[in-house]
């Protein structure tokens, strides 16, 4: 890496000294210091809820700290709102993009700083600048495409162009890789390096250690709202970073014994499901079984029918005629979601905001989302609030779900990792024979991932059948007892994780190889 670009003698591009930010019930930032050099890629590492986002919101003017100062190029500044931040050259790409879907890329880039004469837009000028920046930094976008039509990767490049268009010097990336495919991640890394080479200072928020090791120059670690330390990446290791972040050593491998598969719990025969988007078959004639005491994983690249497959299984999607889903020997193909929920299916959904939680409900209300009608929680139609509270408190304790106001915290106000923990607590605690876990660790930090993996293995060891759907090959290899690869809605291969490699799986996932019949595929 070209270390020459970093100017170590000049004042810090941005220095945050002793920042303290208090929320009701939580000290989100407790005396945190962060020093960003010019031209540096500085990673900010921490678990979910460690205070990374809060610190960045302080820098971006969204929150006012109770204590501490911010210096830019050695001068003290106050940042009251994002406009101030912008004026100081601080730009941010949020984890969830702030784009107007029905506007074009160009309109989104200039939004808020449109050049105009007497109220008429001077778009030509803007377009020239955008195209120049796009070329200069290799940020390939189509300025006339609507945001809703372009890929997530291009949306992110639009966000980056937005910052560059405003001549920002300090660029904050909040978990930029969480939504990207591996190819897009590689591309983004190249872009970020290019930006740093041009003298931009970059704050890279992440909890993915591999990425930080790959790209960052230095890394500041936060834990539970406190400053742990700043290290040079060249002088540290993944293990050291993770123990700084979590406060203890973290296992990257999952400890588990060999599976002792028992009876068949779930058997799927000739399942076909139509896509909601293009109305063609997204899942084609899939048959598989899952036995008690084993973790079967469906691997594949996103968009190969996994969502529709799980949807049909849980009852959220309709399956085509001829499909058969048998649970514990009973045909449940036509049964509704409630029936499946109460007859042994627990489901950790892919999208925790869309399906997993009612964000406007409190944590305790969410904890009983599928059980509120049980005699334990209601009497004659009236909810037993005491029972709900007790139950929620029990789960919060057992699964270490952290939040500002305990069971009364609105789900919306919780960090992503704790929202996921809440869902996992709810689903694992329900009496179940089959656990369907879709991307259970998406967007979570290593500590939470370790915890969730342990819970899934514990569920298996307790004799449950586990069907795991994951896009992360590392997770697939680590956790599963049997791997099925799904490609374009079909199962194209079955593997024993001990006898296969990531490379081999990758070939099947990309459709280059297949095991069973199929035209043009190489039989193994």
């Amino acid at each position: 890496m070209d270390k020459g670009r970093i100017n170590e003698s000049a004042p810090y591009a941005v220095e945050m000294r002793h920042i303290t930010k208090v929320f009701p019930g939580i000290v989100a930032n407790d005396d945190i210091t962060l020093q960003l050099r010019r031209g540096e890629i500085h990673a900010l590492l921490g678990e979910n809820g460690a205070g990374k986002s809060t610190l960045m919101s302080v820098l971006f003017g969204l929150y006012q700290p109770e204590g501490g100062e911010i210096y830019k190029n050695g001068e003290k500044v106050t940042i009251n709102d994002p406009n101030d931040a912008n004026a100081l050259g601080i730009g941010m790409v949020h984890q969830h993009f702030k784009l107007v879907d029905v506007f074009t890329v160009l309109d989104n880039i200039i939004l808020g700083t449109e050049p105009s004469t007497l109220g008429f837009l001077r778009k030509k000028e803007a377009r020239k600048k955008v195209m120049r920046l796009s070329k200069e930094y290799g940020l390939n976008v189509d300025p006339d495409a609507l945001v809703e039509d372009i890929t997530v990767g291009m949306q992110q490049r639009t966000e980056i162009l937005k910052m560059l268009y405003r001549d920002n010097e300090i660029l904050i990336f909040d978990e930029p890789t969480a939504v990207l495919t591996p190819q897009e991640i590689t591309e983004l890394m190249g872009i970020i390096r290019g930006l740093a080479a041009e003298g931009k200072s970059i704050l890279f928020i992440s909890h993915k250690l591999n990425e930080i090791m790959e790209i960052a120059d230095r890394c500041t670690v936060l834990r539970k709202g406190k400053y742990v330390g700043t290290v040079n990446i060249a002088e540290t290791s993944k293990e050291e970073l993770s123990s700084m972040m979590v406060g203890r050593g973290v296992k990257f491998e999952v400890d588990k014994d060999d599976a002792k598969p028992g009876e068949t719990v779930l058997s799927i025969e000739h399942l076909s499901v139509k896509s909601r988007i293009h109305k063609k078959l997204a899942v084609k004639d899939v048959s598989l079984t899952v036995r008690s005491g084993e973790i079967v994983c469906i691997a594949g690249i996103d968009g190969n029918g996994q969502s529709e497959f799980v949807g049909a299984l849980s009852g959220l999607e309709k399956c085509e005629s001829g499909s058969r889903i048998v649970l514990n020997g009973e045909d449940v193909t036509k049964k509704n979601i409630r029936y499946k929920n109460t007859h042994g299916v627990s489901h950790i959904p892919e999208d925790r905001h869309k399906h997993g939680l009612i964000l406007d409900y409190t944590l305790e209300q969410n904890m009983v989302l599928q059980r509120y009608f049980e005699p334990r929680f209601q009497h004659g139609g009236f909810i037993k609030f005491d029972e709900v509270r007790k139950y929620a408190e029990g789960l919060i304790d057992k699964y270490d779900v952290r939040s500002g106001q305990g069971p009364l915290t609105p789900a919306r106000g919780m960090s992503g990792g704790n929202q996921q923990k809440a869902i996992i607590a709810r689903e694992l605690d329900r009496d179940h024979d089959l656990l369907i876990a879709v991307q259970p660790t998406r967007g979570l930090d290593v500590g939470a991932i370790e915890f969730i993996h342990e819970q899934i293995v514990a569920s298996r060891d307790a004799g449950r059948a586990v069907l795991l759907v994951s896009l992360e090959l590392e997770e697939v290899m680590n956790l599963s007892d049997r791997i099925l690869v799904m490609y374009e809605g079909e199962i194209v291969g079955e593997f024993d994780p001990k006898k296969t490699t990531v490379q081999e799986l990758g070939l099947y996932m990309a459709g280059a190889k297949r095991q069973h019949g199929g035209e043009g595929g190489d039989a193994e």
């Binding site: 303290t20 208090v22 929320f23 009701p24 019930g25 939580i26 000290v27 407790d30 809820g49 006012q64 109770e66 204590g67 539970k224 709202g225 406190k226 849980s314 959220l316 509704n336 979601i337 409630r338 029936y339 499946k340 929920n341 109460t342 489901h347 959904p349 869309k354 399906h355 997993g356 939680l357 009612i358 964000l359 406007d360 409900y361 209300q365 989302l369 599928q370 509120y372 009608f373 209601q378 139609g381 009236f382 909810i383 408190e393 270490d400 952290r402 939040s403 500002g404 106001q405 305990g406 069971p407 009364l408 915290t409 609105p410």
Partner: protein, 435 residues
């Protein structure tokens, strides 16, 4: 003192009430400005008249002049609040479940038609009036339920926006009602009095809501027990929405349809149910109004929709969709209406200032979320500043997120906010009485 203030604004219910009061204040200020402007530009109206005007509006029925008139107006205000409370509840319930019931006018008309036909058709010489009254009320409600279920059905089954279907059902109802009464005309239309286009008063058949002397107590007004019925229904609705599994489900579906479906709730059934209940509530308001016994219902409705149907929307907005709040919001809106009438009667202004004030209040109510957020911000700033300065223990290193469940009490559950609603709105009403 400072401590108190901080805790005061920290409660969401309190913020809701304060936001509503700010909306009302904003409306009054704008109303006053209009009066002043009128006074400035009209040499016949003095500046003092503008003050008298705003005081008259603020005084509501109490600006009537004499004690007797004030009581009379007060009684009618309470009586007229009944249908508004019901349509307000109808709209509020739909809002709570994520639906916009702009179909209350149509549901109201169907309720009026159903209750009038039954009340006037069954001879009270055969069936006791009590039974007829109950049957009439139930028929009205039933028609409203059906009318409300239509947009719910289209929303659930075909994902048609409920607003469009509601507007269509409004005008269908207006025409159906006109047609039915035109066809059956002679049985129901009032030919005895010299008025035209009105249905007979139900009292002509001996069917009238009991007033237990309330009408005489309030200067011979129309007041009857329907206001209490509406109040009881509001309380029941509050309990159902907040304390029962049914309400839990309805609200869940309103907040997040997908998650409700995932959790095994029948979200389509809940949409239909919620619209059907909303329809029943609006229709019940109409039935209670018609069954008073002394009301003239204008049957040629195909050109107009009942205002109380639409006014349920501002009532619900002003009450932040809290059923208990709807009672006070509705009474308050009618209170200003009475003030408007007195404005025309006792000053040089006409009565249109009071609808103007109401309109401005509604604009503000539309922005009540913004006002609440600003209040929350103010409360938060104060609190965090105080905490950071005065309470070093809050920065205790051990005070991690997990260890402080006690702070959960800072955020009150809904029932508290309702109580606050009650108290604050009450104070407001009393304030009006004093002036």
């Amino acid at each position: 003192m400072k401590e108190e203030k901080k805790g005061f604004l920290a409660k969401e219910g309190v913020r809701s009430v304060i936001a509503s009061l700010i909306c009302i204040l904003g409306g009054l200020i704008v109303g006053f400005i209009v009066l002043v402007v009128l006074a400035v530009f009209n040499e016949n109206i003095s500046f003092a008249e503008a003050f008298k005007g705003i005081v008259t509006v603020l005084g509501g029925p109490f600006s009537a002049g004499s004690f007797h008139d004030a009581m009379f107006q007060l009684g009618n205000m309470l009586f007229q609040s009944t249908p508004l409370i019901m349509t307000g509840l109808s709209v509020a319930l739909a809002f709570k479940t994520g639906l916009f019931n702009i179909g209350a006018p149509g549901q109201y008309l169907m309720g009026a038609m159903g209750s009038l036909i039954v009340a006037l058709s069954i001879p009270t010489s055969v069936v006791p009036p009590v039974i007829v009254w109950i049957l009439a009320l139930l028929t009205g409600i039933l028609l409203g339920v059906l009318w409300g279920a239509i947009p719910g059905f289209f929303k659930a089954k075909f994902n048609v926006n409920e607003v469009i279907v509601c507007i269509m059902t409004n005008w269908i109802a207006a025409n159906v009602v006109s047609w039915v009464f035109k066809v059956t005309g002679d049985n129901f239309i009032n030919y005895a009095e010299t008025k035209v286009n009105f249905i007979r008063k139900t009292a002509t058949n001996g069917v009238a809501t009991w007033s237990f002397g309330l009408n005489d107590l309030f200067g011979g007004s129309y007041l009857d027990i329907s206001i209490f019925i509406a109040t009881v229904i509001a309380i029941v609705l509050y309990v159902v929405m907040n304390k029962t599994t049914f309400g839990y489900e309805l609200r869940a579906c309103g907040f997040n349809k997908n998650a409700s479906k995932y959790a095994g709730m029948n979200e389509k059934r809940n949409i239909i149910l919620s619209m059907a209940i909303a329809g029943g509530l609006a229709a019940c308001g109409a039935a209670l109004w018609c069954l008073n016994g002394s009301q003239d219902f204008k049957w040629e409705t195909y050109l107009t929709l009942p205002a109380d149907g639409f006014n349920g929307i501002p009532a619900a907005l002003l009450a932040s969709n809290n059923p208990i709040g709807v009672i006070f919001a509705s009474i308050f809106l009618k209170y200003l209406g009475a003030g408007g009438s007195n404005l025309a009667a006792h000053t040089s202004f006409n009565e249109y200032v009071s609808p103007l004030i109401i309109a401005v209040i509604i604009y503000f109510a539309g922005a009540s979320k913004l006002i609440k957020d600003l209040l929350a911000r103010a409360a938060h700033k104060k609190k965090t500043a105080a905490a950071a300065l005065a309470d070093p223990t809050s920065r205790d290193p051990g005070g991690g997120p997990k260890e402080e469940p006690a702070s959960g009490t800072a955020n009150p559950p809904d029932e508290d906010s309702a109580k606050d609603d009650l108290i604050a709105e009450d104070e407001n009403a009393e304030g009006g009485e004093e002036s």
